[in-house]
């Protein structure tokens, strides 16, 4: 693909409107403008608003107006890398998708990746350089810095400190090393509010090396997850979900599927997918793991003394359960994997490394790679930075990204610590808690505006290339770092090319560079995988030490912190799509709650929405509780990042900041006290009823049952034979579109919901309206709990328009605004719709969404740029719903017609199908017997409410669980 550099892409002319200085009008000029506007209004008053289309003066070579182009790039989230392919219309990126060739995503994505496009066009992004509180410029900064720089080159950086987030970029790492060299006395601290530090620490505890794990779930038959949400919010979650799905395919009765055991306190998506979920307070997971270790050694595995009775007498889980799991792990030696969550102590991670090794999994289901080109968060460094700041030995602090003042441990008040720091330089996305006290605030580029690179956990090198010139005159981290290092400006392009020249060697640099730009990544021939020996005695020692300090008290109220599925650590707080996307488990959006188990809620006589005061030492937080069936007793679950109200128009509406009770001592798990207040709040949710009420909507069975009775899903409901009163349309010619959704693979992660929102210009409505049932999502994920409150099964079902052949919506529309086409699509003609809403009433699946207001009218200009030009932006008063990505179908049909061929199976990919990390969605021509969708419709297939003769084109593949027969009666 094309080599783009920052300055010569797309004409950014029209964007500069946003950059006008804040209006300071004199009375005279105000009158002049008003007079002019009134005259102008009089002339154009009866016309539609004038819109100018400015053609390219010099069109890019490949650009055909209306035909999007796709570029490969990548994004990073902490130390995770996601390979992307981004769709761009006339230089305007509109849609992010996973890069199918990239090992990190294999085409899939998560909700954050999908929502990044809205972050790019966030109207509240920082737009200018600020010196203190006054607008200044980049040149001004450079000038200021050149003085500071001179000083630090002389004194070797004494008094200089950098605070950054963890990163995994070769270029930035190069600069990191150069910084250490140039300023030996300066410090560089890495802090992440959500970090995998414990994992890395545990690995180094076990092996003495700095390593990161890389799991291959596709090879695992038995997976034991210890408080890890590897499918959803863990590192490399997209690859993990895909690997997990590969091991869970059931396409015939001969297929074996993996078995997932989960031990966790909060209910996560990983727990929801588990064949056996054991609820346990997070602080007890360690004891559980030791019990497993003990059981494994009893079963003949040499665990080097980890079976010590003193160590594993504290587990509250039934010994028979432990035994069954241990036996299962042992009988799948080399094909099992144990994974622990990042909130668990490093000693547990060390233990897990040992157990995986003993089970023969190392090198098979899990490999360990050297941490390369990356720097992980480190709490010790943070403590020393705090000490430096307290000693006032720091004169200049450079903060690279994030919002540390907001998400620092509450006992480290960054603002107070920085009081005596002369220069605080902040590179940030928004005006936020951090920018408030900085002497310089510099707008940070979005990754779609900047050059860069990244290295994944498996060693793959990825390129970050811009798709659009910076919208707000921002700068990327590497550009700023270059100024910090050298005092001179170089473009991100130059800096990354330099790095990559080093990677390729000089000889074939140019051709390989082009290849990398095209593919988006580079498989370095040099393997990062390392071998190591395990120091069992030291592990035993540290585990023993950990346990001697650890006194679990059952009745203590434990609090766990985890990343939020919507705002992550707070960075997405101003992203409306993510804020409106319901939490996959609670279905709460726009706010956060303290999750509590039904039993604990009962004991404290709490109901949903009751505000409690949670006290961690001297720090207190008032937050409403929400009862989550399946949560461990005496455990509260808080997500991070909400309540970050300073970012902009969206974030100011959101939730409660859990950071206000998160101390440096207790970043993950802590003991708290909870008192009830008299307040009760309405918590917005998109799904009010948690149970499926014995309706055969999500059909599920166990693997054994399925093998005996593969047609169980069809047979669950009697669909009567009907005789038609008239001659029906046959739908047997040409393309007949259909879809399947495999409930066995759906993990409920919201990726498809966000993809649909981005692809189809679906508006957001806000907290109250969405709570009231006016959310606009064309595709929603229904979540049902079984009625067992202690150990419920959780099931997910994505529901979008089912494209019924006998669509109840069509016959009731008085103006025929919704119709069927000859390819079996249920069409919605927005222009014709008068908005009687009868179709929505009569839709048994309730997938039709109505524009009760003109939701798109008040979009800021910049947000309009994120809209897909292929899809009509709907106005007030019309109904809308899933179109099976009709515009994508039509584009492929057009292209194939021009080339004279037929639409190939797999050519049309809907946005949800594309985004699904587990490949649960198939779409294609059901008239083509060889298509994948037809194959899918032969396995575990059933249609939702088929007994009402709606004949939906979307069908579901029933869910299969694979429980351990030894455990069935026990859990």
């Amino acid at each position: 693909m094309k080599d783009i550099n920052n300055n010569d892409i797309i004409n950014p002319g029209s964007l500069n409107k946003e950059d006008k200085p804040s209006s300071e009008l004199s009375r005279r000029s105000f009158l002049k403008i008003m007079g002019g506007s009134i005259a102008y209004m009089a002339v154009t008053g009866c016309r539609r608003p004038l819109e100018e289309i400015v053609p390219y003066v010099e069109a890019p070579e490949e650009a055909i107006l209306g035909n999007p182009e796709k570029y490969a790039t990548s994004m990073t989230l902490g130390m995770g890398v996601y390979g992307l392919v981004v769709t761009s219309f006339e230089g305007r990126p509109t849609k992010i998708e996973g890069n199918a060739l990239h090992s990190s995503s294999r085409g899939g994505s998560n909700a954050f990746m999908q929502a990044e496009i809205l972050n790019l066009y966030d109207p509240d992004r920082l737009k200018k350089c600020y010196k203190g509180n006054t607008i200044n410029s980049w040149d001004g900064f450079k000038q200021d810095w050149s003085e500071i720089h001179e000083k630090y080159t002389e004194n070797q950086g004494e008094g200089l400190a950098i605070l950054s987030q963890s990163f995994c970029s070769p270029t930035l790492f190069r600069q990191y090393e150069a910084y250490k060299k140039a300023f030996p006395k300066a410090t560089w601290t890495v802090f992440d509010p959500v970090s995998d530090e414990n994992i890395f620490k545990g690995l180094s505890l076990a092996t003495g090396k700095s390593l990161r794990p890389n799991y291959k779930f596709e090879k695992a038959k038995v997976i034991l997850s210890l408080d890890s949400d590897f499918l959803h919010l863990g590192a490399d979650n997209v690859a993990a979900a895909r690997g997990f799905a590969d091991g869970r395919q059931v396409n015939s009765t001969h297929d074996k599927m993996n078995r997932l055991y989960t031990v966790e306190s909060n209910v996560t998506l990983t727990g929801a997918m588990a064949d056996h979920r054991i609820r346990l307070k997070s602080s007890e997971v360690f004891a559980f793991s030791l019990a497993i270790a003990g059981e494994l050694s009893r079963l003949g595995l040499n665990t080097n003394g980890l079976d010590d009775r003193n160590l594993n007498s504290k587990c509250s889980v039934d010994g028979k359960v432990i035994k069954a799991i241990a036996e299962d792990l042992l009988s799948n030696k080399g094909q099992s994997v144990i994974i622990a969550g990042s909130t668990q102590p490093s000693e547990l991670h060390a233990l897990v490394v040992v157990l995986n090794d003993l089970l023969g999994n190392t090198g098979k289901t899990v490999t360990y790679n050297k941490i390369t080109d990356a720097v992980a968060a480190n709490l010790n460094e943070l403590n020393s930075l705090k000490a430096d700041l307290t000693n006032k030995s720091i004169e200049t602090l450079v903060i690279l990204g994030g919002d540390p003042a907001f998400n620092f441990p509450v006992d480290y008040n960054l603002k107070a610590l920085c009081k005596d720091v002369k220069n605080v330089i902040f590179l940030g996305n928004h005006k936020n808690s951090t920018s408030e006290f900085c002497s310089w605030t510099i707008p940070q580029n979005h990754f779609l505006e900047s050059w860069g690179d990244a290295r994944s956990s498996d060693g793959t090198l990825s390129i970050v290339q811009p798709l659009i010139a910076p919208l707000y005159k921002g700068h990327s981290t590497i550009e700023l770092m270059n100024i910090i290092l050298t005092g001179e400006e170089r473009t991100g392009y130059e800096l990354s090319r330099e790095t990559w020249a080093g990677i390729f060697g000089l000889l074939d640099s140019e051709s390989k560079w082009k290849e990398v730009l095209h593919e988006g990544f580079y498989n370095s021939p040099q393997s990062l995988e390392v071998t190591f020996s395990i120091d069992a005695t030291s592990i035993k020692k540290s585990v023993g030490k950990y346990l001697s300090d650890y006194k679990p008290i059952q009745s203590d109220l434990e609090l766990t912190f985890s990343a939020d599925p919507s705002v992550y650590d707070g960075r997405y707080a101003n992203n409306g799509w993510l804020q409106e996307a319901p939490d996959p488990i609670t279905k709460i959006n726009w706010t956060n709650v303290a999750g509590i188990s039904p039993g604990t809620a009962d004991k404290n006589s709490l109901i949903n929405g009751d505000v409690v005061e949670i006290k961690n030492g001297k720090y207190a937080l008032n937050i409403p509780v929400w009862i989550i069936p399946g949560l461990a007793e005496n455990s509260l679950a808080l997500t991070l990042g909400n309540g970050n109200k300073k970012l902009g128009r969206i974030s100011e509406l959101s939730g409660y900041s859990s950071y206000t009770i998160r101390t440096s001592e207790s970043t993950n798990i802590c003991t708290v006290r909870m008192t009830r207040t008299s307040e009760n709040l309405v918590i917005p949710t998109t799904q009010k009823h948690p149970y499926v009420e014995d309706r055969p909507l999500i059909r599920e069975t166990e693997l054994k049952e399925y093998q005996k009775h593969p047609e169980f899903a069809q047979d669950m409901v009697h669909v009567p034979d009907t005789q038609s009163l008239w001659e029906e349309h046959q739908y047997d010619e040409g393309n007949q579109w259909g879809m399947t959704i495999d409930l066995n693979l759906c993990i409920g992660c919201n990726s498809c919901v966000l993809a649909c929102q981005s692809e189809n210009n679906v508006p957001i409505v806000g907290s109250k309206p969405s709570n009231y049932g006016r959310e606009m999502h064309w595709l929603r994920i229904d979540r049902y709990f079984s009625k067992d409150e202690e150990n419920p099964t959780v099931r997910f079902q994505p529901v979008a328009c089912q494209h019924c052949e006998m669509a109840p919506c069509e016959s009731v529309c008085p103006v025929a605004a919704t119709n069927h086409d000859q390819e079996g699509l249920n069409l919605m003609v927005y222009n014709r719709c008068v908005g009687t809403r009868y179709c929505a009433n009569n839709c048994p699946y309730k997938v039709r969404r109505f524009n009760f207001y003109n939701y798109t009218n008040e979009y800021p200009e910049i947000v309009k740029m994120s809209q897909n030009p292929d899809v009509t932006v709907r106005s007030r008063g019309v109904m809308e719903k899933c179109s099976y990505c009709l515009h994508r179908i039509n584009r492929i049909k057009r292209d194939t017609k021009l080339s004279g061929s037929k639409v190939q199976d797999g050519a049309v990919v809907t946005a949800c199908q594309q985004a699904c990390p587990t490949g649960a969605i198939q779409f294609g021509n059901i008239n083509d017997p060889d298509s994948k969708v037809v194959a899918a419709k032969k396995v575990r297939n059933y249609e939702l409410l088929a007994e009402f003769n709606t004949r939906p084109r979307t069908s579901y593949q029933a869910k299969i669980r694979n429980p351990n027969p030894d455990l069935k009666k026990l859990i």
Binding site: K688, L697, P814
Partner: protein, 464 residues
């Protein structure tokens, strides 16, 4: 005289329909007098003021609705029909009694109808006008409402004849047209009386035009009677059809609790029920305000209306129980749940209000004493209409829990739901007050026809 009546057809001496034995001229005097009075009573001005303000409120709220969108109501998904549809069905139901009294009772030679048919018909027309507001404003894009009509257009777009909403357009449109024609036809001789009695030129001209040159000649009477009979014949099926069609708005759907065949008859019975209740309310008010018409609208009339209410109320009660029986008998779990949910779910309060008002309250009319007590009749008639509003509310709210429990939700009205509903009452009474003041509220012609003097056999003038 009495001794001659010994045939099989001879009956007990029936009570006269009109009390006080008025003469033809005193009938004219009494009824015309109400409209011809110079000074308008103060209560009329106050009532007109209040209802006028409410009508203005209606107009303002509709204006805001058009400006902002249907989001100002409490609608959502799954309950995307709310009070607007409830009110529509409610008002169409009210509008039933008029035509039933004029047409069906006319064909059945129920002569007692003559005292109440005029204002029952007026009530029908105003109620249908109120009803007609709602389908128009409840849609998302009011400015393209005309697409609901089969208007030929250059785009070749046509309406969908499969949609019950379109049937509604025709049914209500036809009903309104016929009711208005019927009412006007009935008015012609009375308008001519007004013309003849008018003392100023403007009135004379207006009534002159409106009375279409009526002279009261024999031939005119002959044609008139025939036209009236024909219109009655045309209107009769409409009485049954309009609410049957309105019921198909629900019955044709797939939604459990809506998808039932009992809806058409049950809706018609309910409509007559509520219509008669409204007639009762209005008659009692009219009698209180104009004591002079107590001789025309007698306790006997009110008692008869009460009997109709008792009958239709019991029919409605039967329908309610039959719905439950069929839901159980069908074996369809979704259907069963819909009805259990109706009686025990989040909207159970509305359901039990409905049962209390519609099924239990009319049962008091088994007792003659209660049938002849004005306060009891008045309160009961209002309770019945509250109940009938709730019936429609309960039916529409069936939407809140359908097939997929994930989409289950609730409906809370906003001030605009309530304001527009109250406003429609304002508009109804505003129109009704104007009618009372300017047009004969009781048909003089027909009253005269049922006076003993009108009988050719009056005074023993037997043909034999």
């Amino acid at each position: 005289m009495k001794s001659f009546e010994n045939t099989l057809t001879a009956q007990e001496p029936i009570k006269p329909l009109i009390l006080g034995n008025p003469s033809f001229s005193s009938v004219t005097e009494t009824i015309s007098g109400i409209c011809e009075k110079k000074e308008t009573p103060i209560w009329w001005w106050i009532a007109l003021g209040i209802s006028g303000l409410l009508s203005l409120n209606l107009a303002a709220m509709i204006g805001y609705l058009v400006w902002e969108g249907t989001g100002i109501w409490g609608l959502n998904i799954p309950v995307s029909w709310g009070w607007a549809i409830v009110n529509f069905v409610f008002w169409v139901g009210i509008g039933h009694a008029g035509t039933l009294i004029s047409a069906i009772l006319f064909l059945m030679r129920q002569k007692w109808r003559t005292s109440i048919n005029r204002f029952a018909e007026a009530m029908t027309i105003f109620a249908v006008l109120c009803a007609a507001i709602f389908p128009g404003i409840h849609v998302g894009r009011m400015w393209v409402m005309h697409w609901m009509f089969p208007l030929p257009n250059q785009m070749g777009l046509w309406v969908n004849f499969r949609s019950p909403l379109l049937w509604d357009v025709f049914a209500v449109g036809t009903y309104f047209t016929c009711s208005a024609l019927f009412w006007y036809t009935g008015l012609i001789p009375d308008l001519a009386t007004f013309r003849d009695r008018a003392k100023n030129r403007i009135k004379k001209t207006i009534f002159g035009v409106l009375s279409l040159g009526w002279r009261g000649g024999n031939k005119q009477w002959k044609h008139y009677e025939l036209a009236y009979l024909l219109l009655a014949g045309i209107s009769t099926p409409l009485v049954l059809s309009v609410h049957s069609v309105v019921s198909t708005d629900f019955a044709v759907s797939i939604i459990p609790g809506w998808h039932t065949t009992i809806f058409p008859p049950y809706f018609v019975a309910g409509a007559i029920f509520s219509g008669f209740a409204m007639v009762l309310t209005l008659s009692i008010i009219a009698r209180a305000i104009f004591p002079q018409i107590k001789n025309f609208i007698t306790m006997d009339h009110l008692g008869k209306i009460a009997k109709v209410i008792l009958l239709t109320g019991t029919m409605v009660g039967y329908a309610y129980s039959m719905e439950f029986f069929i839901a159980w008998y069908s074996g369809n779990d979704y259907e069963r749940f819909a009805f259990i949910n109706r009686a025990l779910g989040p909207f159970a309060w509305a359901y039990w209000i409905m049962i209390t008002c519609n099924v239990l309250t009319p049962q008091i009319f088994w007792f003659k004493k209660l049938r002849s007590s004005i306060p009891v009749l008045f309160i009961a008639s209002i309770i019945v209409n509250i109940g009938m509003w709730f019936e429609r509310f309960v039916i529409v709210m069936t939407l809140h829990r359908d097939f997929l429990p994930s989409s289950w939700d609730y409906y809370t009205p906003t001030m605009f739901d309530i304001g527009i509903f109250v406003g429609s009452f304002g508009f109804f009474f505003f129109m009704f007050l104007l009618f009372l003041r300017f047009l004969p509220m009781i048909s003089m012609t027909e009253i005269k026809g049922v006076l003993p003097q009108a009988d050719p056999h009056h005074g023993g003038n037997s043909h034999e």
